[in-house]
Symmetry: C2
Subunit: 207 residues, 2 copies
Amino acid sequence: MSYKISKATLGRLPMYLEFLKRQKVENISSTQIAKQLELGEVLVRKDLNAVCDQGKPKIGYNRERLIDSILDCLGVERKVSAIIAGAGKLGTALLDYKGFTEFGVDIKAAFDIDPKKCSEHLSNGKCIYSMDTIEEYCRSNDIKIGIIAVPQSEAQDVCSKMIQCNIKAIWNLSPASLDVPEGTLVKNENLALSLSFLKTCMIRNEE
Amino acid sequence: MSYKISKATLGRLPMYLEFLKRQKVENISSTQIAKQLELGEVLVRKDLNAVCDQGKPKIGYNRERLIDSILDCLGVERKVSAIIAGAGKLGTALLDYKGFTEFGVDIKAAFDIDPKKCSEHLSNGKCIYSMDTIEEYCRSNDIKIGIIAVPQSEAQDVCSKMIQCNIKAIWNLSPASLDVPEGTLVKNENLALSLSFLKTCMIRNEE
């Protein structure tokens, strides 16, 4: 399976997916989708036609088939293993969370420098190991994704370790900006920016 | 202060902000920004010209001034109070996190149905109260933003309570899709979708 889809389109697929899952209709047109998501119609049509057959005139897309096409395109069938660096509140919340497997990501373990947090068996049977063992673990378990949930000051160190163990994709939940070699993917998840966006919309709504 | 900026532009501002903060140059052109973020040049210029004066030909935008304009536009100066429903791992991680105040959002307290979690004083002096008191608290403390960090099955109930106490903006970290009256904003934060996007990009990179 190989799709010729631009990264920009790919970045919007989760948004379409979430929107489509919330709808209750059988069919939906690109016009309706564009209006609800405040996107251009041409853009929406371009995005959706990249992942599935064109919608039917006056009927639109079959919602469930469109969802399946997007899931397929997002590669949810392919299983990938991940680990978390940092077993603080956020790190363990992610380790506990069951929703990632739905998208084919299996978070196998977490790592922390605090010996008190290590070896702790969580409700789902997953373990927290010493940070000293992260490289060995990643190499022996074919870990592809590293999740950074350590404080900002430690993020770059942890990131460099992950790269040494051949991790090719990093999900960065710290506010640090990471230096990585070419070919390594970084996705920065800044929750503060996300909440700030909601606040801005709210202020505008009040005006 | 009132901006005539489309919601789509507003939604991209955090992305520009994060990108600009990571750069080390004094000036940056819309062409460079567009290339790095994989966006169209026309779009980037339209977005940036909506928040600040045009960049200078052959020089571009002064990076720091552009950051200030975006921050101004995001309304970071205006302080808004928020509360969290659900004091599990994710909820308390957010309650602990200091990065929200930078954007003018003050998370004042959390609420939980589990009596064992209540009255607990966290490191930063913030409290977790009984869910029974959420409405009273929100009314007396002029709470504008509600953060939902409860399990999916409880999310709609909590959301309805928040709307009853005049909360106008909801940050939904549960996978539930919420029914809200017109005029109430909901921002769904689906971390699983975000991680899934990183995975998809990684698979594509390997192909």
